[in-house]
Amino acid sequence: METCRETDGNPPPAQDAAIVEASNLSFGYTRQLVLEDVSFSIPEGESLCMIGPNGGGKSTLLKLLLGLLEPGKGSLSLFGSSPENTRSKVGYVPQAMRFDPLFPITALDIVLMGRLERLRWGRFKKSCHEAAEKALGQVGLQDLAHRPFSDLSGGQRQRVLIARALASEPQLLLLDEPTANIDLSVEEKFIETLAELKKSMTILMVTHDLDLISEIGDSVLCVNHRVHRHSLPLSGETIKEIYSGVRRLEHDRKTRHLQGDHSVCQHE
């Protein structure tokens, strides 16, 4: 590290300058806080999975990271700046379920939206089309570029949305339950795609999918009003506890975790 600093002359890409840095962050839509005193950081290249019960603040945290909401208290920075200023470095993948199934649009048209920042008016440039087609290739959908979105399966739609995020050439990828609407039969392939992406960018995703967490995740952030971080891989015993905790999240969210019971998380 020292030698780098001397030879480069440039300020080093300080490895402790995390890509995401939240400190004492609080937020509430009303007076009641959804997130309270949240501090965590994500170093470059890490894959972090957010788990937690419904209403625990995962979506709110995602929106804060996207700069769609302003933190009430504390600070949140991405790439050393405010989320709103760094949107161009962030790729966002919402859930595919959200969209109007009758909307007349093709896969390629959607992926091109990832290049909107480079478009003032008129048509997309050739370079944008190339980037979009490359992104579709990255998720294995190059052959379906001209298919209507409504013709695609749930898994393919989710891939299209990932390709759209990739088309903007992000350094940080945010995904909201990417496997929520995917059949088990294609999930393995889907995880492979994400594992490939993990090599070249930092990933933060909301997920309840245990396979996804164990294949992709470097660590887990348990979000329920406050946050608790766990590193992966963990000891067999702890994994069991966390995973049983996650299962409980899925089956028993509203009762146990909504009451702020973090017993399954507090074992570090």
Binding site: P94, F103, I105, I110, L112, G114, R115, L116, W121, F124
Partner: protein
Amino acid sequence: MSEFLDAVQNIPLIRYALLAGIVSSFTFGAVGAFVVTRRIGYIAAAIAHSILGGIGAAIYFSRVYELPWLTPMLGAVIAALLSAALIGWVTLRAGEREDTIIGAIWAFGMATGLLFIHYAPGKAVSLESYIFGNILLTSRDDVVATVVLGAFVLTLILLFYHKLVAVCFDEEYARLRGVSSKVYYLLLLGITAISMVLMVRLVGIILSLALLVLPAATASRFSRRLWVIILLSIGLTLIYNTGGLAISFQLDTPTGPFIVLVASLVYALSFLAKKVVQKR
């Protein structure tokens, strides 16, 4: 048919009506496709009804204060844009339910229009031509206004097509990619408002929504690409407007209702046609 062609050559009124019908088809087809895709038909209808308020106010104030420049067309454009802005503002702020404000503007526009027209001095105003439209009342100025407004709307759509589509499809993501979603949503409502003004001139307030929505709805049964739907619905509107004018002239029936009747029948038939295509 030859009777109609003779009329087009010899009677300026028929010529103007035909010209207005042809020119506005392009605007209606394109805007209609967006309205159907984004599911804002009822907003368009509310704007159409609010136009009567603008027309009434323009007639009243121009007569009372002798303002010859304050034409019903100008009043209509102002009222339509104001309604679009108000609906857009309420929707974006989400302070009130969207359907409530749509209903309120709808009725308020009609009520103020009727009152202004009632109290306007001078000769009685024919409400019927505004409510049911009368394409044969098209003047040379109307044709010019149709061309100018139509060209303006189409230019905006051509320039900002991808951004409009992105905002319609996924408003949140568009915002993350630096597109001001609010501005483009308001732009969409604005061009819808201008289309409704042209539409009311042609087929009247009551029938306007049908002519905006039906061609696009028919077209969207046969394609799942927006630009194809736009082209198809422009084509259909062209056929309805010109064919409707010619045939209704020949049969001596009111033009607006005839156009809408044909558009509705074709829409209904498109269900059957689709069924047949799918069975093959």
